[in-house]
Subunit: 220 residues, 2 copies
Amino acid sequence: MGAMSNVERAVSALRQMIFAGELPPGSDHLESELAEQLGMSRTPVREAALMLQAQGLVEMRPRRGIRISPVSATDMAEIYDILTELESLAAARAAQAQYSKSDLATLATAIRDMDAALAADDLRAWAEADDRFHRELVRLGRNARLSMVVSVMRDQVRRARATTLFMRPKPKQSNEDHRIVYQAIARGDVQTAHDTHHAHRQAARDMLVALLEKHQFHGL
Amino acid sequence: MGAMSNVERAVSALRQMIFAGELPPGSDHLESELAEQLGMSRTPVREAALMLQAQGLVEMRPRRGIRISPVSATDMAEIYDILTELESLAAARAAQAQYSKSDLATLATAIRDMDAALAADDLRAWAEADDRFHRELVRLGRNARLSMVVSVMRDQVRRARATTLFMRPKPKQSNEDHRIVYQAIARGDVQTAHDTHHAHRQAARDMLVALLEKHQFHGL
DNA sequence: GTATATGTTTATGTATACATTAATGTATGA
DNA sequence: TCATACATTAATGTATACATAAACATATAC
């Protein structure tokens, strides 16, 4: 029925704990501890940790336990550089694909939700809709591997957001950019879709890196 | 001494077998079979398979065994699209970094080796030097995550090369491109480095995809 | 002959036991 | 006091045993 293996349970539980900050960046955890917490044996925990390690969320170090990977300003710069290139390509491909208005409904909804969240000053809701927009954008680019890579990178960004979301300036220009990208895709303007999104992500990168550097989240 | 775990041994053995074609694309293998072949228990084989799965080399399907991932023309298009963007970024960053001639020695050597291999009509040697060039280029871009992603993608390309290397036209333009990229990096010409490499990879993509499509390597 | 239900097989998912080995603590000597 | 060698500890790496559940085959009904 609820055909979900313990490994899957462990993966999503650990992810949740990491994103919630319950397992703080840089902290170490024994396989046996985590296994007990999750009510299962070490085996599925180990396998889950291997998967999360492949996604850069944890590092398994011999005899030191499972370390929750820290995210430094440098890391964030690396990640955003990758996101910038790959998402821009996805935007270009989406524009090339000649999608109909109804194909783009999810994008449009996300944009409206961001507007609403911003008007209501609800940053959490904004971040959620922003995620939704970017995920859908990449999906429209129709490259399964690219989607995978981007989603792994976005996971790592998400972890820093607890820190950055309430320190960064209100994302006003951001919504403007999204709208331009959306319209470019709708009318098949490949260049504009690509370049606008590229600039959008690059701006976000510079802002976030500066923020993290300023607040000395270097090794955290 | 030779501190190498069975998991590591399993990973490199399986990689070798996959690249050598000993485990053909699309074939299925039981954990227990592989374990016996490698002279170890299922546990390290399973862990190795999980890692290779994260890199897209195999797929673990419940009760069907470990499947060696096939690489179709569509897959190749996806992979090259990613390689194109990320390697071009690396080229741009390398040009930005103002490397000295001696920093670029490895690149230069790779180019010379490609020339020599081409003159001697030794395609294997050419492919090896070509790999070396691209690996070094990415390294010079100084983005650890990007290097990782690119290396995973390149592994998948390598698997198709057994098929494509001797069917494709002689890589003559290729060497020309490499030289232009090298010179652009050496003089700090970011735009040329980026654009030339971008076009270089895109041309390779189109050629390879056409080749694979023609020879109906769709599901293989 | 087809389709459904039932039984059998068997590969995997998980738990557990054990071997290995790195890290820590202790003692000895200078 | 400090350094080195040794013993101890304990976490991981690996093997193994077993429960589970999917795939296959068989049989039965229509």
